[in-house]
Symmetry: C2
Subunit: 415 residues, 2 copies
């Protein structure tokens, strides 16, 4: 419903909504292999001079209530699998343990396919329907693909997915159950990404690949809109975000920026970008004060959802960090595993490694003073631990079986 | 907030709320090993003569809104991990495929720990806090234990779980991540159940074991209250329920019974009980017109959550079927696997085998005329497919890897 233009985040050119599909064509021409994506587009809404009134709209749960800040005209285009609001959890035991009395957990593990990626996929499928596309496609290491498959299934659009042949089993089971055509591409995620792009151009499929499709950011920003509403129409002081390709970080900033443009909030929160230490291109650039992100030769971490050597949305994410006086935090795989157990034990939330990274990062941010213990801070928990059982089991001690006797119980519990 | 008594579903004796803890002591004395649980208690609320007004209450999402029909005085006792409402999905593609235009999916896969069992565990933890219990315990094949662990973690109550040593890996990872003490008992679920009972009496732990603790049924009935509210304060014509020990079936009936007693609905829906053909004690009894359920020597099915030889809540479930003019349906494991794929492909919902059984059962109920294609019918989908990846992968064809070339894509999609 929102009238909007698309602005190139690199060169600043403005395009009408139907003038351009994915990235700025001028900047795309200068794209070199192995660097961050050039020409990522940013939707800019026409806001009445006195701001948006009656936002969000009344209505049942789901993104449709935010239609005034979404790039579709008809909320009925959204798939019949509503996304959000996910809970913003008060977490008394975690607050006590961290001595941070105003920390919240934004629990996106309970979204339809179990990750924040549902937010982007729902909107992209709506856009595909608006455009009359018969097939949607994406490259993904896992969560984006399962989310797209779920939304396409609900909406009745064909879905072709390009994933590394070694994609995690749980995510593979989901996308296949959702009836997608899954192409398990021999090689890395980068190979799958390149092949998806080539195929989408060749066959005319609508491409959801993250950052390349500007509506992924518009969909993901609903997490910020929900946080704002759940905090009583206020921004928190800080949002802690697990970061791989940078799209979620950019999207959180975009959500609060749009609220500010709509005169619904007067400041944006400080963003804290958490990266695994083996996959920290964006944090590196932030600390070095660099203007652009230098991709890594190779990314390694247990957290597959944020294991990214070439962060597609790196430039925008870096700018978002700067503009919000944000900070980067690096966390080790051991710290991520410890955070899975801590979040489970103290909040009852089971997170996949990338999602638990935000708690690991909060420890770092509190220790360095990047986040004050008095701050109202939101931890983004972006995907379910059920998507990576192996990591979950590494985070805990699995007990040996006991015989069915009271004595054995007594020994086991140390009574 | 609801004032209530506890009535024995076998002998009809009434007890004050604090007079009795788990089952009717008189009937428990006649309990023989290997038969359905005797003396299961039913909460009966004191309802004003003109019914309940202003139900449910205003407030944030979660069971607290239903406090007038729940057996706790203070909604703040509920753990800070709100349960429900889960979505009642309109499913256009499934409707079309089934030629049943008014079918809905009640999607409990998105509850906090991924199953309907969260409803019972949340209320039982509230009850434990009310009673000042320091430890909660349960025996479980998996979902009830993970749900109890999550709720206990959020509330800060110690949790001891008795599960078969061979409990599914995903569920084991969840309960351990939630910080529970997990006792993996060598032997069957029945061995774990007996040991849990013995240990809870010995150590004074508060026992959540299903049906034995009457508040499991009170917690699970919130699924019926939500359906009623989501259908515009009306009952559907039928609810299709996967059935193992019979507690969920009894709870759905109880929810609508309570609404009728509160003058909020004038009829209860027909219940359709779906059991796996290797685990169909309740359906057997229903078809034979028997007064009680004869336990099986052994139960076999791929659907671990409804694999039950001795249905604890069999007697009550059988009565609920009779009183609602309900029907039983048996489904094969192959039909359950096909239903996983069908539900995923047509609704975007990934279910564990027990949860997909309701769709398999609807096919049977439509074929036999037990449910009319014009009926407003709700399919209860009780647990996430991420809890049983192996079954999910058996339900689909896993494609072979392809090389990263357009030709390979063309061959794979048959273009």
């Amino acid at each position: 419903m929102g009238e909007y233009r698309l602005i190139c985040t690199d060169c600043g050119r403005a395009f009408g909504r139907d003038e351009v599909e994915y990235v700025c064509p001028e900047c795309a021409r200068t794209q070199r292999p192995g660097e961050c994506l050039r020409g990522v587009l940013r939707a800019e809404y026409a806001i009445p001079r006195d701001g948006l009134r009656r936002f969000p709209r009344e209505g049942p749960a789901g993104a449709a209530r935010f239609i005034d800040l979404l790039p579709i005209d008809d909320p009925a285009l959204l798939p019949p699998l509503p996304v959000g609001p996910s809970p913003l959890l008060s977490v008394p035991r975690l607050r006590e343990a961290l001595d941070t009395p105003r920390v919240f957990v934004k629990d996106d593990t309970v979204l339809p396919s179990g990750s924040l990626k549902d937010r982007a996929s729902s909107l992209v499928v709506a856009k595909a329907r608006e455009k009359g596309a018969g097939v949607v496609t994406t490259a993904s290491t896992g969560n984006a693909a399962t989310a797209l498959a779920a939304m396409a299934a609900a909406a009745g659009i064909e879905c072709v997915l390009f994933v590394p042949a070694e994609a995690p089993r749980a995510k593979l089971a989901q996308m296949l159950a959702f009836g997608a055509r899954v192409l398990r591409v021999t090689g890395s995620y980068d190979d799958a990404y390149a092949l998806c792009l080539e195929a989408s151009l060749h066959f005319g499929w609508y491409n959801r690949s993250t950052a390349y499709n500007p509506y992924t950011i518009e969909g993901k920003k609903t997490v910020a809109l929900e946080i704002w509403e759940q905090l009583g129409r206020e921004a928190p002081d800080a949002v802690v975000v697990p970061v791989g390709d940078g799209v979620i970080l950019a999207a959180v900033a975009k959500g609060f920026d749009d609220l500010r443009a709509a005169k619904l909030v007067d400041r944006v929160p400080r963003l804290v970008a958490v990266q695994a230490e083996g996959s920290a291109a964006i944090v590196d650039a932030c600390e070095q004060g660099a203007a652009t992100v230098t991709p890594l030769a190779r990314a390694t971490t247990i957290a597959d959802s944020i294991r990214v050597a070439v962060p597609a949305c790196g430039t925008w994410a870096l700018r978002a960090l700067r503009e919000t006086k944000g900070r980067g935090v690096r966390v080790s795989d051991d710290a991520i595993l410890a955070a899975i157990a801590e979040l489970g034990r103290l909040a009852g939330v089971f997170a996949e490694p990338a999602a638990a990274a935000s708690l690991a990062g909060l420890h770092g941010a509190l220790a360095s003073g990047a986040v004050s213990p008095d701050a109202r801070v939101v931890l983004l928990v972006s995907g379910s631990g059920l998507k990576d059982i192996d990591a979950g089991l590494r985070a805990v001690a699995v007990p040996e079986p006991i015989p069915p006797t009271l004595d054995a119980v007594r020994r086991a519990i140390g009574a």
